[in-house]
Structure formats: C-alpha cells, structure tokens
Amino acid sequence: MDYRILIVDDSPLLRATARRAALQAGADAARIREAGDGADALARLREEPSDIVLLDINMPVMDGYEFVEHKAKDPSLADVRVALVTTESNPERLARMSELGVTHCLRKPFQPEELRELVQTLFAGC
C-alpha cells in the first residue's frame, strides 16, 4: 500500500508495536516513519507529509495535545489524518481533540490486533 504513516510516541516499544501493526495492515515499510515527540513529528510532516499519524499524548518536549493544536492551524497539514493511541480517558480533553480534527482514538491497554484494525480503518478512509 502506498499510504504514508508517521508513528509518534516517545516509547521505542510502542513505536515498534505500531510499526508491526502498520506492516500487518499492508503498509510499505519504506513509507513508515517515526517521531519521538510532537515537535519532531511536526518537523517531519513539514518536510514530507504523511497520510496518517498515530499519535501518543503523553510525550516530552511537545505532547500530543499541543501537536494537534499546531497541526490544526497549519493548512499544509489539513489532509493528514490523526488517530490517538493513548491512556487518556478524560472526555473533555478527547472531545477537544475531536474538535481539532482527530478522527479515531484507541485507548491503551489494547490488543495488538486492535491497532492493526485501526490502521486498516485509517487506510480505508484515505
């Protein structure tokens, strides 16, 4: 599949888990990139867009909330679809993310196949 995916998480374990899920969902390994925080993710997206972002919230430097706020203000990133992969459960905070364009949320803990299914759903919507 040609879709470009950016995995944003400060945990190398979660990045490796998400990479595996993306590959199982049919992604091309060459089209999977990773970032360790929101600022790194924005920089990478502005260099080269991705179609999909899998985004953690709790990260150093720039967290997922701030990333989504910045992304929403940048017209060059309007077509990038963002899905949260997070421990966050606060309905107000999640509603705010939805208002800013986040389309899906997978709450941790999740089973590995749930992450694969999320990526497949996101690919289907591209």
Partner: protein, 154 residues
C-alpha cells in the same frame, strides 16, 4: 492501602500484561526485595487524582523479553534488552497508571498521569519499602521473569 485497592491494582497489572503482550502472571513466590535485586530497569510516574500517588514498575530481563516479544512480534531471544528494558517499564507504568487513574476517579476519567522517569534499582527498592508500609506492593511472576509494582502517596 486497602485490600480492595491492592486487589484492584493487581487485577490491572494482570489484565494489562495479558491484553497488550500476552504475558500471563501470577503472584511471585520470591519476595519483592529479592526480585528488585534482579531488575533490568525501573520506572516511576505520578498519578494525579483526588490524591497524588507515585507508581513504580520494575521488571527482570525475562519479563522485558516477554513483553517486548508479545507486543512487537519478535522472538524473546531477539529482544534488545539494552533498548527495551527502560521502554517496557516506562510503558507498563504509563498504562497501569492510566488504568489506576480511571478506576480511582470512579470511571469519571479526571485523573492525570505524568511522564515516566527512570529509577535506579536502589531508588526502586526504597520506594518498595515505603509502599510496603503505607501503600501497595505487587510481585508477579511470568514464565520467564517477574515484575514488581508499587504504589504509594507521592
């Protein structure tokens, strides 16, 4: 901490390890201080809710291999422990903390989980001693390793 809270924390750890990494655990036979002596890494974070609590997770190399293998799909012997030990304990602390915050808020989801920070084994042992006096300490073992989880007022 109450027996009910102890049991809730234990169930969170058991369920998360099974759900996310297919790792099945039970109460460890060895005492927690002995298991901490063999830990590959430890992490702590703060859970803010009605009260501020600190949760720590320490894992042996065997459990690191099992968790990383279960989540990433590689074989346990292929896991780079030098990279994944800190990542495993940090992520377990993150997910345990999120579930604890949710439960403590009665499902109202008003709690907040801080960023995990690395602990030395001595720091983890100190926290375990304090938690054993006025908090909760879990020692769980899996097929290949063990994990120690502590929770106490921050």
């Amino acid at each position: 901490m109450s027996a009910t809270a102890d049991a809730a924390l234990r169930q969170i750890a058991v369920d998360v390890l099974e759900q996310m990494a297919f790792v099945f655990v039970d109460d460890a036979e060895a005492p927690f201080d002995e298991l901490l002596g063999g830990a590959a890494a430890s992490a702590a974070l703060t859970v803010e809710g009605a009260a501020s609590e600190e949760l720590t997770v320490s894992a042996t190399e065997g459990l690191v291999r099992e968790v990383a293998s279960g989540m990433t799909g590689c074989e346990p012997e292929e896991v780079d422990v030098s990279t994944f030990a800190r990542a495993v304990v940090a992520e377990l602390a993150n997910v345990f903390g999120g579930e604890w915050a949710l439960q403590r808020s009665g499902g109202g989801a008003r709690g907040k989980v801080g960023l995990p920070r690395e602990l030395t084994i001595d720091e983890a042992a100190d926290r375990a001693v304090r938690a054993a006096e006025a908090g909760a300490v879990l020692a769980l073992e899996s097929e290949l390793g063990a994990v120690v989880v502590t929770l106490a007022a921050a």
